[in-house]
């Protein structure tokens, strides 16, 4: 199953709950395999992530329709903690883990649209055209949104570092 991990990571950031992410990923992969294009071509990852996004929308809309929607608070620290990979390598020092937790928390505190482009660009390594397709926005918006997202994350990161003179900048 190509790009299952990417689909899962993306779904985790969209849904913020592991079980919801699992549901979204399963539905997305099934849709992907049922559709004509299949998981092939160089755009396969972007294409699958687009389906993940659509599935998330559909499932979230259904949940809203049924009236129970645990809307996450924008700056819920627990979200950030949950996002950090639990399988850190042996080289991971406690300081590194702290840093990772901080970064995850800061990411979770960003607006969803900022988080989305950052994940797609920096972690999934999609190009602007692919990000435009997944996020369903024009390329120009990808550029400006990415710039704003990076600036926002950097700003929060620097604010975090204040009062920690030992921290590496």
């Amino acid at each position: 199953m190509p790009h299952l991990d990417a689909a899962y990571r993306f779904a985790r950031w969209l849904t913020r709950s592991p079980s919801d992410a699992d549901d979204v990923v399963q539905e997305a992969i099934l849709r992907a395999y049922r559709s004509f294009e299949g998981l092939r071509g160089s755009d396969a990852k972007a294409w699958l992530l687009t389906i993940v996004k659509n599935c998330h929308r559909t499932i979230a809309a259904q949940a809203r329709g049924r009236g129970f929607v645990p809307l996450p608070q924008e700056t819920d620290e627990r979200d950030g903690h949950a996002m950090v990979a639990t399988t850190a390598g042996p080289e991971a020092t406690s300081m590194r883990r702290d840093e990772a937790r901080t970064l995850a928390r800061l990411m979770a505190s960003l607006p969803a649209e900022h988080r989305e482009v950052l994940i797609l660009r920096e972690i999934e390594e999609l190009d602007y055209r692919e990000i435009a397709a997944v996020a369903q926005i024009p390329i120009g918006t990808v550029m400006s949104r990415l710039a704003r997202a990076r600036a926002a994350l950097k700003e929060r990161w620097l604010a975090e570092l204040e009062g920690e003179p030992d921290a590496v900048r």
Binding site: D5, P18, D22, Y33, S35, A85, T87, I123
Partner: protein
């Protein structure tokens, strides 16, 4: 910032999205601008941190198994319709298969039209087969069950693929059976019998096709693809041998399976 460079252009450069001329132009500027250099470094730091700290989340084994099971349910071979649950019917794989078959027909028509216009690859099945063949040539991908004994290979398919084709060894004719493999394509687990002919590997794919949509023989990216059909199974032999050698194996397999209807 005092530097007049717009941040989004610098970021586009950082992201590899700038055309060559603009990039060269910007590189000249960066060489003289400490501010842009620092900004590039920041961007790089941010990227490194995000990849290192957040990029290693993996799908859990449970999710992997769950998705695999769901896919298997989608690709139940025979008798497909009898086993469909009401939910699966609602999901209508049959509908999709119909669409796919229809598209295949369109693709053939399109290829006829565009034959002289552009070398477009229209039938995705060709790409799948070639990709599967090329992937199989990479170390450790060729064979799941290594055996020259057809009585070992055939039962292995029963548990690992959606079809269990007849398996033969034509060592005397120069086509040595080296093993079998299961490959996922066309929404099912196809059985692949691997033969060696001289230095060449020949992958013989077989899969269920209820729509009688057998493509014609073709050559893709230097690989020959020979198609034939026996019963409700489609076969495709893929290799870089010459056509004659491939045709020879095709007729050997056809003879062995008792199918002499198609010369």
């Amino acid at each position: 910032m005092p530097c007049a460079e717009t941040p989004s252009r610098l970021e586009a450069y950082f992201d590899g999205e700038l055309d060559a001329i603009s990039a060269a132009d910007l590189e000249r500027h960066i060489g003289e601008c400490a501010e842009c250099q620092a900004e590039l470094e920041n961007l790089e730091k941010l990227r490194r941190s995000l990849r290192r700290d957040l990029g290693f989340d993996r799908a859990t084994p449970e999710l992997r198994a769950r998705v695999a099971a769901a896919l298997d349910r989608e690709a139940v071979p025979e008798p497909r319709d009898a086993r469909l649950s009401p939910r699966a019917l609602a999901g209508a794989p049959g509908f999709w298969r119909g669409v796919i078959a229809g598209m295949g027909g369109l693709a053939v028509a399109a290829s006829a039209v565009f034959l002289f216009a552009a070398p477009v690859s229209v039938n995705p099945l060709f790409n799948d087969l070639v990709n599967a063949h090329v992937r199989s040539l990479m170390p450790t991908h060729l064979i799941d069950v290594e055996s020259t004994d057809r009585h070992t290979v055939k039962p292995w398919f029963a548990g690992h693929a959606d079809v269990s084709p007849a398996v033969f060894d034509f060592a005397d004719e120069g086509y040595r059976l080296v093993g079998g493999r299961a490959d996922y394509f066309d929404r099912q687990r196809a059985a692949v019998v691997v033969y060696q002919h001289g230095p060449h590997i020949i992958n013989v794919f077989s899969w269920v096709d209820d729509h009688n949509s057998l493509p014609g023989d073709t050559t893709r990216s230097g690989w020959h693809l020979a198609f034939w059909r026996t019963g409700n199974l489609n076969y495709c032999a893929v290799s870089d041998t010459g056509w004659d050698e491939l045709m020879r194996l095709e007729s050997l397999i056809k003879e062995a399976t008792g199918d002499t209807r198609h010369p």
